[in-house]
């Protein structure tokens, strides 16, 4: 086969089609760049496609975006762009593809790709499934983690992308050709050869994900020998509703619901061989235990854990809920032995008895889940040598602290778990950030690869001018796919079409072999033209997979896309009633009658368009605000950066050194210099936001300056980067004793007045110090590392100084674990306290005494430190609440800004056009702030680079003349979008009526159904279009 790809070097290669790669590809495509998305497997989705639920919200990943379920989510997270018939025109998807060779440099890479054949042509595969029925070769299902089997001919997941079968032609396939013989569309070619091509790209993003620790590797846990020992991904498949049991949790040996389940943490993490923390296992084990508790009565869930690392937004609360509300039991130890009773297949664990000091107890469990860790992705070494970037000592991609998304090779970027173990939210941040980082390289090409969301499908082509059908009688054409063999023997298409010809307004009926093939589409277009049809009913398959294809087809004839109505004959009839052909034929008639009834009252729908103001407003001049400003400005758009203080820098001004060794003050100087010198950035210090109005693409802000003067700006996007601060506390002798200080104060002392601490004998550090009146507990995430950083520094200065850290859980996730290890090696002592064993700090004879109950040795300790250092929690900056009110955005339980979705949209607000980054979102490390700042910049740039920005369409519309201003819609809306606009005139000429902002409305229609005055309608789902008053189709059935 000959390569047909001639994209210029301005295109970008994304390696890996998991959630990170898809997110990065989508953002780049939306910014108007061409993207090649390559994936080694046969379908997109990666690990996330195997997950049923996400912690801590238990959102079903199905809906929030997995390839398993067609990326059907219309929220702009990971969305319809990844449906087969509605692919983003700027994304070229290549599955079963790998890099074989690479030459060139940033701006001009030439990459050789090897495409392994699918042996099934996706364009001709109708998913009829005959090939899989014919296939004799049964193999373990990778998607279901070997819990069930699949055939050699299979789909990687029920709704994979590409949406077609593929043949796993390993050694086991004997080339019997049975699949080829039965394929009705000749889509299979077993002789297909691998083929190569070379593409030219300007930049590369690596989103290669991770692999799981091989549970067989740790033989002591009996995986593979003991039936009831499963690994965590297998458990995920059990509880997933798309799993082999549709979510029923059964123990493998006898398919009975387990009564006692144990989770063993750190399997392949924090050990000699894998000295890093896998970051995700604490939370997923908690989730898995809660899911068991929700589904099974009286199940005992026990998690054997070292530290509970719940270090993100809402995670701590989730952890507490799991113990207090659900009764999940946590035992702090690491299990090293496990045995099976060969008769009952029950499992026995030995561990130190927490209630009986010094004794070992043994407990029986029905099922044991190994919380396997995160390993570098397979093939990482190969790709690193091909592309010439470095791996770190653990085999993950090497990154720089201040350039967290860049590899050691210029022009090659990395995101997600390939750079260090991380969860979905962090991966999304990274991916959007890497995309944002790449956009600045292509500032002249942004928006050049045209694509539009003007229509209900994604498009890059021109369409004929639209026909005016307003005054015409409905002329309906009914097209039905025969889709051999799906309808064969079930639905009598001929009779159905004869019946359909008699329905009101139907002037043409036609059978088409395969409606979705080019020749089928051509037939539809010709008939629309020939019979001057103005409404079209396509009786074929699922709306979710094919609606956009047929919407585009009718658009190509000059009809509005919304004048097409689909009927799902295949999914709702042929495939689910194969043994009742007569009744199924009648149902097919009935479904088409419903479709015709609805088609007769369909109306054209149009989106509105505005050109966005090509300017961004960035609020906050710390590391996040500065990074985001520079990134947007580098992409070629104007930025107004406002900072409340006199100087730029925020918290970065107070950071003297980092545990990794880099100098944060160099970063600060560099950023400030770039900000000041940048032609596209206007900095306003001592300036605050006073007013903010408008909507995405067209915001208006009033700013107040130090001298009391005000100025106004118009801008297209707003980015919030207002940061956070160390909390002040007044217990533990803080403020009463001069030797009680915070970690930041200690850092300042170490850096500037080393002599003050160089001779101290004993220093105690207390972690997790929060104000006494603060009841909502959350992990401030960065304090453990700050403490360890300072403790190591103290030990370097004076090895004889006793440094004792009193902690609850040590949060050193990812590769930060090495500094925890280093601190202990240097002799820093760590002792655990908790709510049940609180600390007592007193002043005795001018000295400090810290009393605690040490749990390991079960003794009271009295410490007499020369210096007591408190790690106080991080809180949002002052004025966060007020700013949230001004911007009309929400605040989380912790007091930080609340993003649109905690996992899938961590840098977006629900209001499209406002973004968030840095500590204003949640406490985070510098590199994490930089990633999120780049992510916010990238998301903002996708909007700024649009020529016209389209919005509205199928969104709720209020008729103010019917509105009585009762506020029902404002209370009902799940997104709090409707508001009373006092400029409008309601019923009876009274001032004020409801207004629904079309850029914000999600089109669910909840308000329309609740409005007592019936003043709100949802286009495409108006009351008439659902009830079809003149045509009783909603409840009655055809009498044959």
């Amino acid at each position: 086969m000959i390569s047909e790809h001639h994209h210029p070097a301005e295109s970008v290669l994304v390696v890996g089609g998991g959630i990170g790669g898809m997110r990065a590809a989508l953002d780049l495509a939306e910014a108007g760049l061409k993207v090649y998305l390559i994936e080694r497997d046969a379908g997109l989705g990666g690990r996330v496609a195997q997950l049923g639920f996400m912690f801590p919200t238990h959102d079903c990943v199905l809906c929030r975006g997995t390839s398993d379920h067609g990326y059907g989510c219309t929220r702009p997270a990971i969305s319809p762009a990844f449906m087969d018939h509605n692919r983003h025109p700027n994304i070229e998807l290549m599955t079963r593809t790998q890099i074989t060779q690479a030459v060139g440099q940033a701006g001009d890479f030439r990459i050789s790709l090897l495409h392994e054949p699918h042996y099934v042509n996706p364009a001709r595969c109708t998913n009829c499934g005959l090939c899989a029925i014919a296939c004799p070769e049964r193999l373990p299902s990778e998607y279901q983690e070997s819990l069930v089997t699949r055939m050699a001919v299979h789909k990687s997941a029920p709704r994979s992308l590409p949406d077609s079968y593929f043949i796993d032609k390993g050694e086991y396939c004997e080339g019997c050709h049975r699949c080829m013989d039965v394929c009705p569309t000749d889509a299979i070619n077993l002789d297909e050869e691998p083929w190569k091509e070379t593409i030219n790209v300007g930049a590369i993003i690596l989103a290669m994900g991770y692999s799981l620790t091989d549970a067989f590797e740790l033989a002591e846990y009996g995986f593979g020998r003991y039936l009831n020992v499963v690994h965590s991904m297998q458990y995920e498949r059990y509880v997933s509703r798309s799993g082999p049991t549709e979510g029923l949790l059964l123990r493998p040996s006898d398919n009975t619901p387990p009564k006692r389940i144990a989770w063993l943490q750190c399997i392949g993490s924090r050990d000699q061989k894998h000295p890093y923390c896998s970051s995700i296992c604490c939370m997923y084990a908690t989730k898995e235990a809660v899911l068991a508790k929700e589904r099974l009565d009286d199940v005992h869930c026990q998690i054997f854990i070292m530290d509970e690392r719940a270090f993100n937004k809402e995670y701590n609360a989730y952890f507490y809920r799991s113990t207090e509300q659900y009764g999940v039991q946590y035992t702090r130890c690491r299990i090293s032995d496990l045995r099976e009773d060969p008769k009952t297949k029950d499992l026995f664990l030995q561990y130190p008895d927490p209630e009986n000091e010094g004794h070992i107890r043994e407990d029986r469990f029905d099922m044991v889940v190994l919380s396997v860790g995160v390993q570098p992705p397979k093939g990482a070494e190969m790709v690193s040598s091909q592309l010439g970037f470095d791996l770190n000592q653990y085999g993950f991609c090497q990154t720089d602290k201040f350039n967290p998304l860049e590899t050691s090779q210029p022009g090659i970027y990395v995101c997600g778990a390939f750079s260090s173990p991380k969860e979905i939210a962090e991966t999304i941040i990274d991916s959007a950030g890497a995309a944002g980082d790449v956009m600045r390289l292509f500032q002249n090409q942004l928006g050049c690869s045209f694509s539009t969301r003007e229509f209900p499908f994604l498009s890059d082509t021109e369409f004929p001018p639209e026909l005016d059908i307003q005054d015409q009688e409905a002329r309906i054409g009914v097209f039905s796919c025969r889709c051999y063999p799906t309808m064969e023997g079930v639905i009598d298409i001929d009779s159905v079409l004869i019946k359909a010809a008699g329905f009101p307004h139907v002037i043409h009926t036609e059978e088409i072999g395969y409606g979705c093939f080019p020749e089928g589409l051509e037939k539809i277009r010709n008939s629309i033209n020939q019979h001057k049809l103005n409404r079209v009913v396509v009786a074929a398959c699922s709306h979710r997979t094919h609606e956009s294809l047929f919407q585009k087809t009718v658009k190509e004839t000059g009809l509005n896309s919304y004048l097409m109505e689909m009927v799902n004959l295949r999914g709702f009839c042929a495939r689910v009633h194969p043994h009742q052909p007569e009744a199924a034929t009648r149902k097919a008639m009935e479904l088409i009658r419903l479709g015709v009834g609805r088609a007769g009252v369909l109306e054209p729908i149009y989106k509105a368009a505005i050109p966005p103001h090509k300017r961004a407003l960035v609020i906050g001049g710390g590391v996040s605000g500065m990074t985001t400003a520079v990134s947007i400005a580098d992409s070629g758009f104007d930025v107004v950066l406002i900072e409340r203080d006199e100087y730029l820098g925020g918290n970065l001004q107070k950071i003297q050194y980092l545990v990794e060794g880099e100098n944060p003050q160099l970063l600060l100087r560099d950023l400030v210099n770039r900000i000041i010198a940048h032609e596209h950035i206007e900095v306003m210090t001592k300036t605050e936001l006073l007013e903010h109005s408008g909507h995405v693409g067209a915001y208006h802000a009033v700013l107040r300056h130090e001298d009391g003067s005000q100025s106004e700006i118009s801008h297209g996007v707003t980015i919030v980067a207002t940061g956070g601060e160390e909390t002040r506390v007044n217990h533990y002798l803080m403020g009463e004793h001069p030797a009680v200080i915070t970690q930041l104060e200690l850092e300042d002392t170490i850096a500037h007045r080393t002599d003050e601490i160089s001779n101290l004998k004993e220093i105690v550090m207390i972690q997790c110090v929060k104000p006494v009146d603060e009841t909502y507990e959350y992990c401030s995430r960065i304090c453990c590392i700050s403490t360890i950083k300072n403790a190591i520094r103290l030990k370097v200065i004076n090895p004889d100084c006793q440094v004792i850290v009193l902690y609850k859980d040590i949060i050193t996730y990812g590769f930060r674990e090495q500094y925890y290890t280093e601190a202990r090696e240097r002799g820093v002592l760590f002792a655990r306290y908790d709510e049940n064993h609180p600390l007592q700090v007193e002043q005795v004879n001018g000295g400090i005494v810290v009393r605690m109950q040490e749990q390991m040795i079960n003794r009271e300790l009295n410490l007499h430190p020369d210096l007591l250092v408190l790690s106080t929690s991080i809180q949002p900056s002052k004025g966060t609440k007020e700013l949230a009110n001004l911007l009309n955005v929400p605040i989380s339980n912790e007091g930080f800004f609340l993003e649109a979705h905690i996992k899938m949209r961590p840098m977006d607000f629900m209001e499209e056009g406002i973004f968030i980054c840095g500590i204003a979102h949640y406490p985070k490390f510098i590199e994490e702030s930089i990633s999120q700042a780049l992510a916010a910049a990238g998301r903002a740039t996708t909007i700024l680079s649009k020529k016209p920005f389209h919005y509205g369409g199928t969104v709720a519309v209020v008729d103010p003349e019917k509105c009585i201003g009762c506020l029902t819609c404002t209370r009902t809306c799940p997104f709090e979008i409707p508001r009373i606009d006092d400029q409008l005139t309601g019923v009876g000429d009274l001032g004020g009526a409801a207004y629904i902002e079309p850029t914000l409305c999600h089109g669910c229609g909840t308000c329309t159904a609740e409005c007592p005055a019936n003043a709100i309608q949802l286009p495409n789902y108006t009351d008439d279009q659902i009830m079809v008053p003149e045509f009783p189709v909603l409840g009655s059935w055809i009498k044959l």
């Binding site: 959102d59 809906c63 059907g72 979510g247 709306h543 979710r544 479904l591 669910c1004 909840t1006 159904a1009």
Partner: protein, 140 residues
């Protein structure tokens, strides 16, 4: 009509997300369910209007049910819960006009639950078969 030969005719409203996806999953996995169920797509079950349900009964449906996303996992956050309130309200209307609220039901399914989608159709068909035809049909 004797209740033995009676085949109920049922209208099922479903949301475009989990409801439709569950129906699609049943289709992908070829899970069979009773044939006399007519499926009507809504953007969200929050769009469920009592008038739509009543219109279906008025047209002659023997039973109606609504398929929504699982509670707490609605694509539109809590559209399904608003829809449920209206379904409950409509049941009371059906009781008061003598049609009987038990002819109406609501299911909360995830998009992966093809089997459960089929079970819902089976359960409703059996229930309506017991209850007999829509009384409006026999009076006409």
């Amino acid at each position: 009509m004797s209740s033995k030969s009676f085949e109920p005719e049922i209208t099922a409203f479903m949301c475009n997300y989990c409801g439709y996806m569950a129906a699609d999953t049943a289709s992908a996995l070829r899970i069979e369910y009773p044939v006399n169920v007519k499926l009507v797509k809504l953007p969200c079950t929050g769009k469920t209007d009592p008038r739509y349900i009543l219109k279906a009964f008025e047209d002659g449906a023997d039973g109606v049910y609504v398929v929504a996303c699982p509670k707490g996992n609605c694509h539109h956050v809590r559209g399904n819960e608003r829809g449920e309130l209206r379904v409950e309200h409509t049941k009371r209307i059906l009781d008061s006009i003598g049609l009987g609220g038990e002819r109406l039901n609501m299911y909360f399914l995830s998009g992966g639950q093809g089997k459960s989608f089929a079970d819902a159709a089976i359960e409703m068909t059996e229930r309506i078969r017991e209850l007999g035809p829509n009384p409006l049909n026999s009076t006409s």
